[in-house]
Every structure is written in C-alpha cells, then in structure tokens.
C-alpha cells in the first residue's frame, strides 16, 4: 500500500534511505534523479537552517520540529569532584502531526469513521480519557516525542 515500489525497497522492507526517497520521488514526479536529489536536499537544508536559527518548523500533516535550549550549568566530574562547565546545548525535537499519527495507527480519515469515543484524538500517552491535552509538550518530554 505504500508508495515505495518493491523494486526500491530494502530487502526486509525496513529502511528507506534518502537515496531511495530520491528514487521514488523521481519516478513519481517524473524528474531526473539529479533534480529530485537537489529538491530533497534543498528541503532538508532549509529545515536545518531554520533549526539553526532557532526557528520551529511546522509541516502540516506530517509534524513539527522545535529546538530546545539547555542552559549551561556547572556540573561535576564524578570521579574527581572537580567542577566542570557544561556548555549550553540545543537539541531538536519532533512531534508527529495528528494526521500522520492516526495513519501510523491504522486509522484512516476517509475510511470508516474511527471509534472516536474510545480513542480521543489528542492524548497519546498518559492522558487517555477525558483529560485536557496539554497545548504543547512541556519540558517533560512525552514518550511520543522522544
């Protein structure tokens, strides 16, 4: 059912690399591989640039990326007890979009209506029923995000 033709699937069907993505896109969009590669590289470069600028990325239907900033702090070398400076660091986080999360779980919006009552759309982790889902993932990263 996937778009990836069997011909370019890795045997075992487990991993699709960037070059396979390029092949599929070239086929589907009638582009040369070189051009498909350029487009795909451009997309990911644009995304990396945005994250470097501390800018979040929102790809509707797919998910969003944010950068979390970790402040510098004085840590200790546990062996010697010396104080060491831990540099500030930034890490990217991805949160899957609603549409994709549903699809991954086998729910199709256009198919039979999903059992909404049993599976509220938001929660995902510890808040399955009735509770208000948090607007955004706070500092406590949910398992869904990690």
């Amino acid at each position: 059912m996937g778009v990836v033709p069997a011909s370019v699937r890795v045997p075992g069907g487990r991993v699709v690399t960037k070059s396979e993505l390029i092949e599929v896109v070239a086929q589907e969009a009638n582009l040369t591989k070189g051009r498909a590669e350029l487009v795909i590289n451009t997309i990911f470069e644009a995304m990396v640039d945005a994250l470097r600028r501390d800018e979040g990325i929102e790809i509707r239907g797919f998910g969003s990326f944010t950068v979390r900033q970790y402040k510098p702090y004085e840590g200790r070398n546990p062996r010697t007890g010396d104080t060491v400076h831990v540099a500030p660091k930034r890490l990217p986080f991805f949160k899957v979009g609603k549409d994709l999360r549903k699809r991954i779980n086998g729910e199709r919006p256009e198919g039979a209506p999903p059992p909404r009552r049993r599976e509220p759309p938001k929660p995902a982790q510890v808040v399955p029923q009735g509770a208000k889902a948090p607007a955004r993932p706070g500092p406590g990263v949910s398992e869904d995000v990690i």
């Binding site: 996937g2 778009v3 990836v4 991993v15 896109v25 582009l31 990396v48 509707r60 998910g63 990690i146």
Partner: protein, 105 residues
C-alpha cells in the same frame, strides 16, 4: 518555517519550477515519507536524522485528573532521532568551540 517557506526555497535554489509545481513536489515528498512510515518502514535521512515507528505495548496508567486507573492501549509512535550532524549544526555557535561530539562513549 512552514511548507510555504520550504516551497519558496525550492523555487529559489532549484529553479525551473513554477510555485505550483514546487508546491506539488514538496507535498509529494512528504506524502511519500508519510506513506513509507505508515507501512512501518524506517526513514534515514543522512545529515538530518531517522524517523522510526515504534510499537508501544499496553501499560497501566492513570488519569491524572481523576486518579482512575486505566489501561493505555498498545499503539505506535513515530520517533525522530536527530543525526549527530544535525546536533552538531545546532550547537555550532559562531563564537565558542564545543567539545568534540565523538569524545564520549
């Protein structure tokens, strides 16, 4: 940054596409990725990161508001593991050099 910004970038960098064509193409690329992940396959984008669908087992949980014990059903989650290259890129401030990324186990 949204899809629109990415589309603009594709137009600027690649050239030869109308806005509409670039938009369709960007849409298609994310569609292919979505459909790939939907089948349970993993995506590896070198220099960016890996997308992986993980199966979570059911486990007991609690409604934090009412304290009611409930079972969190088995489900699949999509995780993103950033590439070391991306992590390094985010941590390359223009001023301070950072400790090497590879010098820790």
């Amino acid at each position: 940054m949204t899809k629109a910004d990415i589309i603009d970038r594709v137009c600027d960098v690649v050239g030869g596409f109308s806005k509409k064509e670039a938009a369709d193409l960007v849409e298609k690329i994310f569609d292919v990725m979505k459909q790939t992940l939907e089948t349970g396959e993993k995506i590896k984008i070198s220099g960016f990161g890996n997308f992986l669908v993980r199966e979570k087992k059911p486990r007991p949980g609690r409604n934090p508001q009412t304290g009611t014990e409930i079972t969190i059903e088995a489900r699949k989650v999509l995780t993103f593991k950033p590439s070391p290259v991306l992590k390094q890129a985010l941590n390359q401030p223009l001023d301070a050099p950072l400790p090497g990324a590879g010098d820790r186990p």
